[in-house]
């Protein structure tokens, strides 16, 4: 058995030349010794709205400490919506943490260990170095660190199976509980065993550098990591935009990544070049145009072939080429005018479109206990997908039985357009209208509601159903 192991190691060492160090036992042990002190188990409580009330869902995942200030990179789907976070370090010490910022589009989040606790207890930790995922090659040995099924400090290894895996599917986009993801980069595919709980943990090369964040397990040795090159600008943007809360003064602000959007959906040209009479590997098909959005405003139409953006070619022949082009559009300055060269029929045209801030389908969600309802902010993609005429109002996500909204026979998905004849523009303004009805102690509130093509008045009877006090508030 020992002979066999030696033989395998010798064979692999022989097949692999530098700069892809082989997974010799010494090297694996050395990498483990370097990385392990930077890997944490992440336990979270996530707030979800169910039956019109906030409730908690607990879970755990993994993370990697990326600097000496105690910041940890993990997945959005692990910590992105967490309202309570604890991390457990390699030395088994448990430390509270908080969310600094997140980005569902790349499924990444950054959390901050509580450095006061670290200092008081004199807890030691180290941070991992970020590597270069662009230089990964298929076949290269890699290792994963994390907490599969809650089993902390688990190390697994294998090799890179593919470096530009795409899950592009025009029929069905990827999402995390409805939050879009995976639009802006391809994935590292590897046969390193990954299980639930590994999410957010580092994928590491044999030089002990982080090359990816383990994110999806496909089972049967088909596992996927977000390339660290995708994560680097996201980390920078989150840290730059996050504002720390000051107990005495202002509330903090979560860090985020702002991107540009043109309001269309693209499709690879593959097998359509002849039909559109275009050279092979030229342009990308604009498959669908949002009814409300920059490209529609610019006079764009579905079936236009987009050739360049600000003079830069946008060539997508195969699905694997989609993410870089989306990323290029996303990194245009928000609110700027861009020149789009398109081919429409036999004509080549130049359109000028003004980019808008990329917004997701799901907007901010809040609970309104006195009405027994949780609502979401209207977003442009939601309005487009649900064929609404305007980006305004808030929509119902859940309701409590016996509370005013449910008693008024409203349904999840209904859009509240006005409160006592004042139009609702967004969530913040709605909150003001709601608070005023409570302050004025109104026992009847008239809502204008849209349900599909129906528009109707709904009357909330508030006072007589309001609970005396609500423990969840």
């Amino acid at each position: 058995m020992r002979n066999l192991a030696c033989w395998v190691v010798l064979l692999m060492a022989g097949c692999q030349a530098e700069p892809y160090p082989a997974a010799t036992p010494q090297r694996v042990a050395a990498v483990t010794a370097i990385i392990s002190p930077a890997v944490v188990r992440v336990d979270i409580a996530q707030a979800i709205y169910k039956d019109g009330k906030q409730s908690l869902v607990r879970g755990n995942g993994s993370g990697v400490i990326i600097d000496q200030q105690g910041r940890i990179l993990t997945n959005y789907h692990v910590a992105g919506r967490a309202i309570e976070i604890y991390v457990t370090l390699a030395n088994k010490e448990r430390v509270p943490a908080r969310l600094i910022g997140d980005d569902h589009w790349t499924d990444l989040a950054i959390i901050q260990m509580d450095m006061d606790t670290i200092g008081k207890k004199q807890i030691a930790f180290s941070s991992a170095q970020l590597g270069d995922s662009g230089s990964l090659v298929v076949g290269q040995d890699v290792m994963a660190f994390g907490t599969p099924f809650g089993l902390a400090r688990t190390v697994t290894r294998g090799s890179v199976s593919n470096t530009d895996r795409t899950f592009y599917d025009v029929q069905q986009r990827m999402d995390i509980d409805g939050y879009e993801t995976g639009d802006f980069s391809n994935w590292i595919q590897m046969d390193v065993p990954i299980n639930p709980g590994n999410s957010g943990g580092p994928l590491v090369d044999l030089a002990a550098k982080v090359v990816g964040i383990n994110t999806r397990g496909g089972g049967q040795n088909l596992n996927f990591a977000i390339p660290i090159d995708t994560a680097k600008p996201v980390i920078a943007a989150i840290l730059q935009t996050a504002v720390e809360a000051k107990p005495s003064t202002a509330p903090g602000k979560k860090g985020r990544v702002d991107r540009s959007d043109l309001g269309f959906e693209l499709m690879p040209m593959h097998e359509l070049e002849a039909f559109y009479d275009i050279d092979i590997n030229k342009g990308v098909l604009i498959n669908s145009v949002d009814r409300i959005g920059p490209y529609a405003d610019a006079g764009g139409k579905a079936q236009d072939v987009l050739l360049t953006v600000n003079g830069q070619p946008t060539n997508v022949r195969f699905p694997e080429e989609m993410a870089p082009v989306r990323q290029r559009i996303a990194s245009l300055p928000i609110g700027s005018n861009v020149q789009l060269t398109i081919k429409r029929g036999k004509q080549t045209l130049t359109l000028t479109a003004k980019t808008t801030l990329l917004d997701g389908y799901l907007g901010e969600e809040r609970g309104f206990t006195q009405w027994g309802v949780s609502l979401r902010q209207m977003t442009r993609p939601y309005a487009v997908a649900n064929q609404l005429d305007q980006v305004a109002g808030v929509w119902i996500t859940s309701m409590s039985d016996g509370e005013p909204v449910e008693r008024a026979h409203l349904e999840p998905g209904d859009v509240i357009l006005s409160v006592n004849n004042t139009p609702v523009t967004d969530m913040a303004q709605f909150q003001g209208l709601y608070d005023r009805t409570l302050a004025d102690k109104l026992d009847r509130v008239a809502l204008e509601v849209q349900r599909g093509r129906e528009v109707f008045t709904a009357i909330l009877k508030v006072k007589e159903y309001a609970p005396a006090s609500d423990p969840s508030e």
Binding site: M267, N287, N386, R407, A408, R444, T457
Partner: protein, 490 residues
């Protein structure tokens, strides 16, 4: 198929047992009367037998072949002869509108059961359907002299004895069956349903009062209920396993028997072109109209009768033609009650709504002129693109309305996809609105058909590129690769 043998073999149900139980129950219920033959109380068993004999000669089965593009299927329903020259009425569920276009219903037969011989099949012609009364009609090709049922508009009172005579499926020899019941209550709603204590003799059964007058009919609410012989589950005998307990009174369908549709004179359904919603109690209080059933106007279709009359969204309708709206059991039934009222009027006639917008408004009268309802999917022409495996039909109003696009949008709509064929493999979807084919706008079905056939003939190896608008309004380019020769459908 030998239905009776089948039931026994599978051991799932034994239809004879329920019949036996029914017979025993009937015998028991008549026992006291039998015991006292001299009494003035009419002989209950004799009454039941009289009802049976009265209705049985007028019960027939209606059979037809539903020939869709993907194959054909034989369906049958229980029918009642309603005129002496042989007009037969049957529940509309079996030709349920969205499912079956008229020209796909072929080879209609009227099946006349016989106790002593094989049943007789008579060639017949479909006359049309009347959605307002939920009845469809068929007529024998050669006139016949038949005993018909004369329906009488009479409202039974709670407690009145009722009888019903209906028909069992072919597997049970099309036997007529009779049941006795008691009138329980009348349910309010768009279609008033009368509830009985006891059971009724299946969908299509005639309901009689104690004088032997036909006062109602048992209706189907779905295709499943309407089918007499369920081809997918021949063991199914809903009449016996799950007997109905509700029927509709003659008043609800008499108009359609007196003035039935015919191929040259189909029923024309009027419409007003706006969404309606019933007001809840709290809403009515808010508008200061407590205890007044009212409906609120939602979306108003441009250029529709409602739009032309100046009706606008959030208007509240409190009266229709000067009369209070009939009460339903629930507010959600009110729009249907109003719609059903208007559907019984003719195109071109006027209806007056009394409308308020705010509490305390003096109702304003809005007069609408009813127009013809836009065509429904089953009323338009179709084309089967057999080689790529999809059916295209003409665009209807609903197709454009649900997508928030102008009703003038031209194209064709995918009505059917053959499983595993090229179109489905390319992710063409049901109800996709095809606006372009190979870069050319689709103007109408005829042009689409011609262009399609020409293209497939001239360039059989080139992909067919369709531009479609999905149900959610998204555009999509569909690239259908033609099947290789071995993969052509047979």
């Amino acid at each position: 198929m030998d239905g009776i043998g089948h039931f026994r073999r599978n051991g799932r149900i034994n239809w004879r047992l329920p019949i036996l139980i029914t017979a025993i129950l009937l015998a028991l219920s008549s026992w006291p009367a039998r015991a006292d033959e001299a009494a003035t109380v009419p002989d209950e068993a004799a009454t039941v037998r009289r009802m049976y004999d009265l209705v049985k000669p007028s019960l027939v089965a209606v059979k037809y072949t539903w020939a869709s593009e993907l194959g054909s299927q034989e369906l049958s329903a229980a029918g009642v002869i309603v005129s002496d020259d042989g007009l037969v009425a049957f529940p509309i569920g079996i030709v349920t509108p969205a499912l079956v276009p008229d020209d796909q219903m072929q080879k209609f037969k009227i099946v006349v059961p016989s106790e002593t011989a094989d049943e007789t099949e008579i060639d017949a012609t479909f006359q049309g359907r009347d959605e307002r009364t939920s009845l469809a009609f068929v007529r024998p090709d050669s006139p016949r002299k038949w005993k018909s049922i004369k329906f009488v508009d009479s409202s039974p009172r709670t407690g009145d004895p009722l009888y019903s005579v209906g028909m069992l499926p072919k597997g049970a020899g099309y036997k007529a069956i009779v049941t006795a019941a008691i009138m329980s209550t009348r349910l309010r709603g768009p279609v008033p349903q009368l509830l009985v204590a006891g059971q009724l003799a299946g969908v299509g059964a005639v309901v009689l009062d104690s004088q032997g007058r036909a006062i109602g009919l048992v209706h189907a609410r779905s295709l499943g209920e309407a089918i007499l012989d369920n081809p997918e589950n021949p063991d199914d005998l809903p009449t016996l396993n799950n007997p109905p307990r509700m029927f509709i009174p003659t008043s609800e369908f008499l108009s359609s028997i007196e003035n039935p549709p015919s191929p040259s004179n189909p029923i024309v359904i009027p419409w007003i072109g706006c969404e309606l919603k019933g007001l809840e109690k709290e809403d009515a209080e808010y508008f200061g109209i407590e205890n007044v059933p009212a409906v609120q106007v939602g979306d108003v279709v441009p250029d529709s009768p409602a739009a032309k009359a100046g009706l606008s969204k959030l208007d509240v309708i409190t009266r229709v033609d000067g009369k209070q709206i009939e009460r339903g059991d629930l507010p959600i039934e009110l729009p249907e009650i109003v719609t059903r009222y208007m559907q019984r009027m003719s195109v071109g006639s006027k209806v007056t709504f009394s409308v308020i917008r705010n509490k305390g408004d003096v109702p304003k009268d809005v007069v609408l002129t009813l127009d013809t309802r836009p065509r429904e999917p089953q009323e338009v022409r179709r084309f089967y693109a057999r080689d790529l495996g999809f059916v295209a039909r003409e665009v209807t109003f609903t197709d454009t309305y649900r997508r928030h696009i102008t009703a003038k949008t031209t194209g064709v709509v995918v009505a059917l996809l053959r499983p595993q064929a090229a179109a489905q493999a390319a992710h063409l979807g049901m109800l996709d609105l095809i606006t372009q084919m190979n870069g050319k706008p689709v103007e109408n079905l005829d042009e689409f058909k011609k262009d399609y056939l020409d293209f497939r003939k001239d360039r059989p190896n080139d992909p067919v590129v369709l531009e479609v608008i999905r149900l959610d309004g998204k555009e999509q380019t569909i690239n259908i690769q033609p099947p290789q020769s071995d993969a052509q459908p047979g």
